[in-house]
Amino acid sequence: MDILLNQHRCHIDGQQAHRPLLAWLRESQGLFASKEGCGAGDCGACSVLVGRLENDQLVYQAVNACLVPVASLQGCHLITLDGLSPAEPHAVQQALIDCHASQCGFCTPGIVIAMLAWWLNTPANALRTNAQRQHHRQVFTQALSGNLCRCTGYEPIFRAAQGLAASTLGGDLTGQSLAGLSTQDIIGFLQSAGGTTQAAQGPQGIGYYQPHTEAQLALAFELAPHARVIAGSTDVGLEVTQQLQDHQSYIDLSRLPSLAGIELINDQLHVGAAVTFSQLEAYFSQHDSVISPAWLELLELIGSRQIRNRGTIGGNIANGSPIADTPPLLLALDASLVLQQGEVQRQLALRDFFLSYRQTALRPGEVITQIRIPMPSDKSQLCISKISKRHEDDISAVCLAMLSSQDDSGQLRCRIGVGGMAATPAIAVKAAEVVANQGDRQAICAAIGAEFNPLNDVRASADYRLQVCANTLYYWSRAGDSRAAGGQA
């Protein structure tokens, strides 16, 4: 397995393949610019830039180096801050210097990388009108949502971004040079290295399998039946850095064409399980539909930009977490899953997938290949709400989604998906009945309380979870009724 590390082609052997990228960079490559602030994808100090070919276009994204195994980046161009700009400061670096945007400097390498990804991918913006300035701020906030800074309060970083707003590239890398290489050279490497090697095997069963075909996937399961299955490794990475688990074998699903792509077929949206949150965001911002606004609202609150660049919708489901962000919305939409085990394929409604805490209907050797989302009618309404202590880069205390519509008789029909309310993501059946029948806040509260017994934990109390659910559902049920929000019914 090879990667292009800054200016040099670099071979990854079987013993190195599974190591967290950050440890490998700092301990084996002597590249110290990427810092370990948290080792858990929360702070962004370890961010690196990963370049790939997407539809023959060279695309760079910021990624948390602490979470990903080295080999997951095979065939990619990896830019660390050490190698970014050998001769003189890049415009992004200069802007940060000029705006006094570093204090202790420890988060700064990650800030530069995240800003660089923004600078490369965001169309230039004039900032003449209030609307332009507001849009600029939103886009930039999204780009930096995974970078914690404890010193500056972020204001000088905003100032640096304002100065750069007019010169961002919008994805056009023609004639650019990155890490001292021309884009042609980089593309040449990526074309030659991409998809050539699927496995890096070390001694004693250590191995990293990155199948490109179904057959290779089946073989990988045969060779390494106990391997940890990953796609973006945004959660499995934590098992390594936080729980000190020693995963030496991985099966990486991120390069399987059958798990890629988004397509609308017969009023059903087929989403590949390895589609990242960032790819979903791009799709919904380009395809307006009745479900797009709710999806965009949710996606912008999932983790951070770095997490969304790696995390996949399939992983979010397969992981089986009760506080996963997408299941409430998918449950409200009555989505189903396509599951594949060798040559055997089956379809399962998402509502039947979650069995108990972190237990799913997934069988050994079986993977989710696709998520199928029925498109609701244009007259229906889809609402989403994610409640957390912090807006960006946080895990929900409660996540709620509701799909509602009126049938021909004028009766309200609704389906409600909830996260953080039980041991699994769930459908709120009783509450949906009360909401459909225009019950008041207390009735909704009673229905939610009868149906769920949420946790008291570090994120919120059970009472808060119940109350927020009731308040939100009541508000949604009276959308347009100005008396709905304030006070108690």
Partner: protein, 779 residues
Amino acid sequence: MRKLPAAASFVTPKSASRIHESAALHVTGQARYVDDIPVPADCLHAYVGGIGVAAGKLTSLDLQPVKDYPGVVDVISAADIPGHKDIGPVFPGDPLLVEQSINYWQQPVVAVAANDRDTARRAAQVFTYEVEEQEAILDLSQAQQHQRQVRPSHTLRKGDVAQGMAQAEQQIKVQQSIQGQEHFYLEGQVALALPQEDGGVLLYCSSQHPSEVQKLVAEVLAIPMHLVVVDMRRMGGGFGGKETQAAQWACLAALLAVRNKRAVKLRLSRSDDMQLTGKRHAFVNQAEVGFDRQGHIQAVRAELHGLCGCSPDLSDAIVDRAMFHTDNAYYLPHAEITGHRWFQNTVSQTAFRGFGGPQGVMLAEQILDDVARAVGTDPLLVRQRNLYSPDRGMVTPYHQQVSGVELAQLIDELSETSAYWQRREAITEFNHSQQRYVRGLALTPVKFGISFTAQFLNQAGALVHIYTDGSVQVNHGGTEMGQGLHTKIGQIAAAELGLPLAAIKVTSTRTDKVPNTSPTAASSGTDLNGQATRMACVTLRQRLVEHLMAEHHCRATEVHFADGLVTWPRGNMAFAELVQQAYLARVSLSATGFYKTPKIHYDREQAKGRPFYYYTCGAAVSEVEVDRLSGMYQVRRVDILHDAGNSINPAIDIGQIEGAFIQGMGWLTSEELVWGDTGQLLSNSGATYKIPAIGDTPVEFNVALLANSRNEEATIYHSKAVGEPPFMYGVSVWSALRDAIYNASSVQGQRVNPPLPAPATPEQVLWALQTATEARQDG
């Protein structure tokens, strides 16, 4: 006033916004932190292990399983410490490793050295032990019930509170609960120890107090301090968390390094850093307040309960500083302020930006809000009425005469520039116009006392070398943690010697260059070390001038140093040329400088004196919008006007203000420390403990320095300390949230003003909203 040597003409404030000395290194990733230093090939990695018990007695310990763990080279327990086993900074109570008594969850019992860090981390968990578990004291009521204090209570008294209270037209009781705060410096605790040929050790560590690390390492190893050198180039953030609590990891690394004659690095993981190091103190504050119908405060009787954790650490001084700031900016005719220091079976809480001051200010600001609502007047007016003023009074509860505090004018200016009154009207209109969101607005001032309250700490040293090429190296006792201290020190040396900034190199802080230094804390870094550096530069300049006088027959007052050139009436020469001539004439080109803060004194027995050389002041206005469905909120706009005196570097000072505000806001909003019933910290990672992210910043954020200001005291260039005071501007966000909650009540025709525990998480805001709006309609 103390007479200072003639100052070099200093560049105007605007042109002095020099960039941070490490900015170019920061943005290219070349700035080196302790974990980036290349280590010898045989370097060992150390880690600590503890027991999941908050209170207990260790009755047996077996290290054999650790020794047998593949890759382990050495393991130690308390029995292996050759010298002092307690590293308490002021009072005992902080064992390097547990001897018998376990006082908090996972308190380190063993330290392991292994060939790699992962092995050390895993092996540190495999020792076997027996523990007699004891009842843990985890909250205030348990500590009160057992009367467990880490230090005695202390009271400030002024006037006659009983009489003042009795004569007041109205009285209220105020109660508040404030949680602690995790430092969340981005660079965690780390130390690298290199054993030396003479039994000594060279340490690289991330510490605000290298001299204390040096002393403690020497005591632990039972060797003289002259065998220990601490080198500290920069920290990836400190905020107080590396004032005393960087020492333990440095001592353990040093001990293992000397035992094994190999380099040892110890770096805590984020979750262990959060679990094992102290935080800002949680406080429970209570007060009785007497006031008249206009809201003029007559008397305050306050009790401050600081939750200190399992040892004194710096808690005596921290609770004192909370008491010193219970007046904040307001004159209290009669006051009695008592501070308690309660024990808890948690990690020992420690210094954090503001050092207790913020917890005192919080009580003051809740008092002002509650008094204003009790008399039905806008809180801003009541705040203005109660400010220290020659009419009302200028003496603090600790009997210091307030001087140099221009808050009345500053608040007038800020309420004007922030359009406080127009926005107050607009907010009322908005709150009546719809039901989902409710907005609030608050202006809160800050008056923060500058000086270490431990008088002896108010001293500093510097060592300045001029080399024969005319380049200058400056060493001083302060440490760089991002605050721009070295940049300001460089500017001072450049100004004094008339050199471009590029001619000055401020080096890493080293205990063998400048000895016996104070911690870089209490906002004092530039005040103390800047003056010491200046003294050293003045000495060197005088020597050069004397040489010039002898050679060129000019008078001392006729010689000027500017732009790398030395000029006198009949000639000039390059600074470097003069230096070379002086060297050949055998003039010493190295000098020390020393400074101690004048005028301060404090008699703690009497609780009277002048603990503070001067005050740094300012005020902030914050506007928030709360979603009544969830209690989630957004800070819409913040305006700050801050008095930095004659700022040495306005850009750096504004950076301190912006950053401190956001940090203070985080403390009171999203940053929630959650402790389990067993004394375990549950919010022990970035996933569960939420410092402000970029999206939490105010949509509009205006920060300005008070124009044409000058410290009336003879501080370095008449500037004012800036590190901590702006932290307390965050209080305006909390106060604005309370205002929003009160507004939600008054929209319904009620006037309910519920308490709002800090941090005001969305959950706390929702509960307070419910209390405010559920009360009876005729309330």
